[in-house]
Assembly symmetry: C2
Homo-oligomer: 341 residues x 2
């Protein structure tokens, strides 16, 4: 057969010390004398010892893992975020579990169950659609302080939230279009009930009012962050009598669908109509035309969420509340230009 992994007993025997000493060398070397420390480290080398996580977790009453709840792993938007999160946990001895809440919907008891099981020590949710009951169950079993929301969040709950400054992003987009000379600006929203939909729509409306731009209710088009919804929006716009000269989309994917639809309908982007996206996913820079958009620091968002959660897990301090919003940035590319009345 194959060689069984060495246990702490094996190391202790090899080094001629007790298991307690081996354990101390590994986790608290200051307590051990120079001589024995070296002997133990040598024995560790020789035996190829690695600490058994199950045993350690059992003894330390922890799970050694965190769970990331992703609404839909397929959306390119999440990739950079996940990379940032993983990076944030490198060297922390927490394993990162990822689950797709769309293809594996959570029951109310599932998340708290993972905590009770000792499967996870903490969670980062990119899904703002968790039920209040599910969260209440987590709080009840003491997991409340170990859940962090990222990008999305649940209204009326007091969990830490890391997110971009969505309102500011909307503001930047509108101001950019206004600076180019656009007055008739449409908006394709996210799905109803999504917290980001609200934040971006309201930011956009506020800025439009501030700048005194004209308002038409049909210029606010309901979407759902998908390529298809952008495509549908294009049809709506093509059919309008009083067409906007620019469109601010709630997500880059929407912008892609929109642009494709507009071009298929005979318009040119940006000559006939300007388009601004939101997110700045990888593809946006190489789309044709390259997309002007609001950049979210996806990697940074992920890292920050990991940091905040690690901090929670380490200190068990329960000061909740929202983290300062992460800055966004306007990236000007080729999909916007002055209107050509």
């Amino acid at each position: 057969m194959f060689q069984k992994p060495a246990t702490i007993q094996d190391v202790a025997r090899a080094a001629g010390v007790s298991t307690a000493t081996v354990s101390r060398v590994l986790s608290n070397p200051g307590l051990v004398s120079e001589r024995t420390r070296e002997a133990v480290l040598l024995a560790v080398q020789e035996t190829g010892y690695r600490v058994n996580q199950a045993a350690r977790n059992l003894r330390m009453q922890r799970a050694g893992a965190v769970l990331i709840l992703v609404p839909n792993l397929g959306k390119p938007f999440y990739s950079g975020i996940l990379a940032g999160i993983s990076e944030g946990f490198v060297g922390s001895d927490y394993a990162v579990l990822i689950t797709d809440t769309e293809s594996n919907p959570l029951q109310d008891a599932t998340l708290s169950g993972y905590f009770i099981d000792g499967r996870i020590d903490g969670a980062i949710s990119l899904d703002g659609g968790l039920s209040a009951e599910a969260l209440a169950q987590c709080t009840r079993c003491g997991a409340g302080g170990r859940i962090v929301f990222l990008c999305e969040w649940v209204e009326g709950q007091d969990f830490p939230v890391i997110s971009s400054d969505n309102a500011e992003g909307a503001r930047l987009a509108i101001r950019h279009l206004h600076d180019l000379g656009h007055k008739k600006i449409a908006h394709v929203t996210g799905p109803d009930g999504n917290i980001l939909t609200t934040a971006r729509r309201e930011g956009m409306v506020a800025e439009r009012e501030r700048l005194g731009l004209p308002v038409r209710s049909e210029w606010i088009i309901r979407g759902d962050f998908s390529l298809e919804s952008g495509h549908e929006a294009a049809h709506r716009i093509l059919a309008m009598r009083d067409r906007p000269t620019a469109v601010f989309c709630s997500a880059d994917m929407v912008a892609f669908g929109l642009i494709a639809g507009l071009i298929a309908g005979g318009l040119r982007v940006p000559e006939d109509i300007s388009v601004v996206g939101f997110d700045d996913i990888e593809m946006s820079g190489s789309f044709v035309p390259a997309l002007t958009t609001i950049r979210q620091d996806r990697h940074g968002l992920g890292r920050r969420a990991a940091e905040v959660l690690l901090d929670r897990l380490a200190k068990a301090n329960d000061q909740s509340g929202r983290e300062p919003a992460m800055p966004v940035e306007l990236v000007i590319r080729a999909s916007t230009a002055p209107p050509t009345d």
Copy 2:
């Protein structure tokens, strides 16, 4: 403070039986009498007991987790696969760990380390770029039979492989173009050294020869599965004196970049040039023009890999080797049409 999770002891006390009995009720109910079984189940309800995974894993000498190695989580291609994998593990009491091998490159000892640690019981690698040394270390520590490759694989190694019939996909694409009347067919490859690049290129070359289609070396354009490489390929093609009338791309993303580039260069798709992709990712159906492509059953591939790995983990049987290739399918949409010489 919060209520501590109930242990098996608590349940045993509540039901007036020993912990052994509780354990049996939960894992091997047939051994226990009707009466006590009911009493125990009641006690489980009342206490809200859930078995502690760390303890169970320690005792059973398992990790309760599998690791999925994904080359780049950001690529939409992987989404459906991951969904299929997760689905395959639902109800199996294995946790699914996901890691991005691009943003977190594996050292030679990392993967085997996870096995030795008792962090994972098995792995599914979507990355065909694992080093021989890393794999050798896994084999050495007895983890050889618990690694499954999916989509990609490492040449010269005897791990089970689940993958689509890449050669057949290439054949279908070329035959489709040939049936439409195309003779001058170009191909944008994947990255050098990638196993799929080879499989698809060779499938395409073989079929082209079989049909007696003309060959020009510049019609085989080096790409890397990315949108950008499609875009570059467009420039190459636009600059050719003897232009192909159709292009078979090694991935849908490449096709998107290619089409965008061709259109920007003044050609029409499919009127002036036809384009076929490979993968059929979500976006392909709603791209403009909708993409004709070779569909891989991503969900099914993921599920199958999960099944094969679960099987391995359960039976500890070591019969390795390649699984039968998963079928692919030609999906005809709007990006291909007869040539218009």
